[in-house]
Amino acid sequence: MATLVYINSENGLAKSAHEVVTYAKKLGEEVVVVTTGSQEESTLSELGKYGASKVLVEKSVSGNDAQQLTRVITSAVESTSANTIVFSHDLVAKAVAPRLSVKLKAGLISGAIEVPNGHTVKVNVFSGKAFGNVTIASDKKIISLLPNSIQPEENGSACTVESFDGNPGEITIKLIETKKPEGEIPLPEAELVVSAGRGLKGPENWLMVEDLAKELGAATACSRPVADIGWRPHHEHVGQTGVAIRPNLYIAAGISGAIQHLAGVNGSKVIVVINTDPEAPFFKAADYGVLGDAFEVLPRLTEAVKKFKASNQ
């Protein structure tokens, strides 16, 4: 028996890959990884560090066609007689894990935030305003782990990389074009995030936000109205109807902290709020607060980070 972990290795291994293998290892069975594409063997065997003993690679599949991936993972489940399948709760998993659940008649828990306690798995519900404890009735179980929920742990073991035929079948989704802004840190994976809202008055003032983000190595985010009026791109919008994130540090400048905004960021480990209004609801959810004008505070904070980095080298 084994625990099977699906990893998307198309663009190398993200931190979330280390997280899911660490998570799977804690379930107690042998950990086998299944992936597709043409990633280097030496990159994939790195997963041994986190507890994987084998990586199965279906080399004939490129791209993320959910039906193909579902067939490939099903073949891997059969060949390893895995009872538990683990995903990172990312965009690919959101298409593949539900399909796999129906195909295998395996209960799916999405958005797990902790290692299971006996048979119950803790998840976020109500957009992070509460937790739920879920159980699965079927023998086979699928869990998708919310990124940034557990720390990767290195416990070193040898790991082999084998190619395998996963019976992928036909592609039904034809890829026309991919657009990725260069050099930006994808928001859902970022450990540090600098975010701003309507308090910044206009798109021309975002340079201050970007400067601080660059100095910290952080991603940038925004509140919904800011994306709606077109000051910032849609993919930066966090909250109940935008992206939900849980970085280690979330810095919010000129954001009031409406309940729908908090719903997307209240999983952050540390929250810093910069606001001119002492009554802003965001201060109640913050760890550190700065009562002041973002136009003065942000550049000052950027300078302070610069100084700190210079003295820590």
Partner: protein, 246 residues
Amino acid sequence: MKILVCISKSPDTTSKIAFTDGNSKFDENGVQYIVNPYDEWYALVRALELKEVAGGSVSIITVGNASDEAVMRKALAIGADEAIRIDAEPTDAYYVSMQIAEYAKANGFDIVLTGKETINYNGSQVGGMIAEGMDLPFVSLASKLEANGNTLTLETEIVGGIQIVEIDMPAVISCAKGMAEQRIPNMRGIMAARKKPLNVVPPADITPLTAFESYALPEAKSACKMIEPENMDELVELLHNEAKVI
């Protein structure tokens, strides 16, 4: 074009979240239900726009009890032609999806639309499960949808960017922000909705695979530490030594 839109209800986004019965049930006391925002703003409105261009019909479907009919009437007021309620407690995503898949297979639709996720359980499961249940392609988190003959062109989110893809109908699609603008129902729509058909269908025999055992609320944050706006060196020092995040 025959379109089916999956509609779920969710608590108003400002609802106080609390639990009863030894933390085993969501406390509905004083909670206002709305149409799940993704289902309403994006899936339903885009379906109506497609129908306005290409003709056809827009049906909505909900797995739920009689008390869900209020939010279903709202969807009819926005412009859907008919509603189907599968008369059952929506136990888990698998149960809900298999009910919808059975109905959709029997009634033949060109497109089945769902929202990106429900804002109470945030599972993002139902769309993919319906697709597998019907053996159809599924595009998740689409932010644009155009129809051209039998082909659909979609823009979808991917990590750190977007992708443009094409599929042939029939297909299942989950809808995210960007796909359409919210429509507020007018008086005429509300009056017309009263006369539109709302068919109640008995559920198929499906066994759920998962169950919520209990719930918990997060612990309250300890008081926020205030730092003088002149003193950003102190903030950086605290983030480094105390919070250990930089």
